[in-house]
Symmetry: C2
Subunit: 362 residues, 2 copies
């Protein structure tokens, strides 16, 4: 099926896209269909708000990102921000701008992905905006969440001697992107019309790039263990960049150990295959949507064997700066090497390789 969007019109399209989203949260009083949605917060809870703008050609490339995955990811990256505040995502609004290249079925696929994400995380779609676009696909998602009053975890609470922890593993999403770009180039230059990209044994890094998950489980595990992080954020731009954010916001420094950085086997294999520096990719790759957090030293026993959590270093006085301690004991200053959508030349590389050279196609 290939239906032109103009056959539905704006209101017809909104109806079609949003009718399959029943409200599940008690706080969602009124969803799509009025001037604004109505949310009834519980008395003892605060509301969290985060927003992300995804632009075709900057944040995604429809040549190799399936639209359903794109919808899923657009929602999940916002949920991740709410979890990173120690909150629970509850509602999203989704605005979408669509050029005439896209069919109704294409947009259905984006919303099918959003719906999957909403179901997986218990979030309600409560509003949005739909428009034509003269250029590419534009997706803007805003997520509301809630958290017990006073229990939101900011970036600014890290204290000297706190342990620095990270969930899951790092660099896989970035390596997945490298793989997708390579196979896309190969496909474009192939004369074989039946060319199939070679993704065997690389499913994990692809999934990390195309369909990331938010670490709801980690937030719940910490809560169950009675651990309240002193600071927390999600790893979207890369560990280096996020460590510097926490250091700056908290007025501290840090030491992080190279041999403690969690890296998956597929990530390591891919880096080797592409002749890239693995630790640089893990430190600066971005889009991992893992949680980076600090806990008091007194919580060490609670986190050191926690599933999916790795202690990677500790917080120092600000005067000591932020450094990565290499396997041979050298200290390398951590520099912001996260994804910068405005320039590929700005931040100096921490090491020689620059894993963000293709950052504009992220």
């Amino acid at each position: 099926m290939s239906t032109e969007i103009s056959t539905l019109g704006e209101f017809g399209l909104i109806d079609r896209l949003t009718r399959e989203f029943p409200l599940v949260n008690k706080s969602s009083v009124l969803g799509v269909g009025d001037d604004a949605a109505i949310i009834a917060p519980e008395g003892d809870r605060e509301i969290l708000v985060t927003t992300d703008l995804l632009l075709e050609g900057i944040h995604f490339d429809v040549r190799y990102v399936p639209l359903m995955h794109l919808g899923y990811k657009a929602a999940v990256v916002n949920f991740s921000d709410i979890y990173a505040m120690n909150g629970t995502p509850r509602q999203i609004t989704v605005s979408i701008g669509v050029s005439s290249r896209f069919t109704v079925e294409n947009i259905d696929a984006v919303y099918a992905g959003i719906k999957l994400a909403c179901e997986a995380y218990g979030v309600d779609l409560v509003g949005g905006d739909t428009s034509a676009s003269v250029t590419g696909l534009v997706i803007s998602v805003t997520c509301l969440g809630d958290v017990e009053k006073g229990k939101a975890v900011r970036r600014s609470g890290a204290k000297e001697t706190d342990l620095i922890c990270v969930s899951g593993d790092l660099g896989a999403a970035y390596m997945g992107l490298q793989l997708l770009e390579r196979e896309n180039h190969v496909a474009a230059s192939s004369k074989d019309p039946d060319f199939q990209p070679n993704f065997a044994g690389k499913e994990y890094i692809l999934q990390r790039q195309l369909r990331p998950e938010a670490r709801k489980d980690i937030v719940e595990r910490l809560r169950a263990a009675g651990v309240t992080p002193t600071s927390m954020m999600d790893v979207s731009d890369g560990l280096s960049s996020e460590l510097l954010h926490i250091c700056k916001a908290s007025g501290v420094g840090c030491r992080v150990y190279e041999d403690r950085i969690p890296i998956d086997y597929q990530t390591a294999l891919m880096a080797e295959e592409l002749n890239m520096n693995l630790v640089t990719a893990a430190m600066n790759g971005g889009e991992d949507y893992e949680l980076l957090f600090t806990v008091p030293l007194t919580d060490k026993e609670k986190v050191e064997h926690m599933e999916g959590v790795r202690m990677i270093g500790y917080v120092t006085p600000a005067s000591l700066g932020a450094a990565l301690v290499s396997r041979d004991g050298n200290e390398l200053a951590i520099r912001a090497q996260g994804w910068n959508a405005f320039s590929s030349e700005e931040a100096p590389a921490e090491r020689e390789e620059n894993p963000t050279e293709s950052e504009n196609s992220k």
Copy 2:
């Protein structure tokens, strides 16, 4: 000054754009700079959420829309949605995608307009996202507001015999757009390098298009008079379209009188100059951001002399449909002729002239 955005980078740009926005609302606990903003709602209030996506080439044309006005309007149209729910706007998030055509000073101008709007309406900027764009300027605004619990006014509450009221006057923003487009065409074809558009005596319709206001005053006036509308929405797509929304949501019909539609003198003059049907422009022009609302017949005395409010008709049983009663007493079926960004051919014109022929450049 003309500074390339890449010289600041994403975080530098965010810092620059948001540092002049102090928080004024008690409920704004934490603003820009973390994974999410924190809002502390008062216990007896509900939260309202609305969002709008503005795309260059669809919703605005930078050839004749000053960027500061664009920022102002992007904020105010969201405030208008909150007022249309009988609420008070409190916080906004602003996401912006910027192509390399734009300088830092250009984006400063957009944010200067947003700041003016926030100051005028007492709203806090609490978050957002900033990105490069490979195409045009993209602005996505989400607004949170609050309202006393249970006091939000939806579109669905209109009852038979209710009076239909509208604030201000209609069609002016649309006529302002026609004027801007005409002068832009004249300028483009002029051989005189010093060509100046002729806007004398047309300031009101220009201001209505370029720098609309949200009707905070009307909501306050109704509240002060003890009038709670049974239904309400703002007029963004055109009166015809909005009347049909209320009729559909409320399961009613309506009769609206042509000679009661409020139209400003400048709007009428411009329509005559352009040889356009005035009532069609007022019914279908859109972007007026006036409030359309219904009140019980028992409130007639309270609204009939209320400043800035005009009674234009009444609610009927659904079986009677929605109709405009012309000056000569004929009933013309009201059709959705509002702005449809996906097609200029879709909705049949209510009359012969079609004021939305240039809708894609709105």
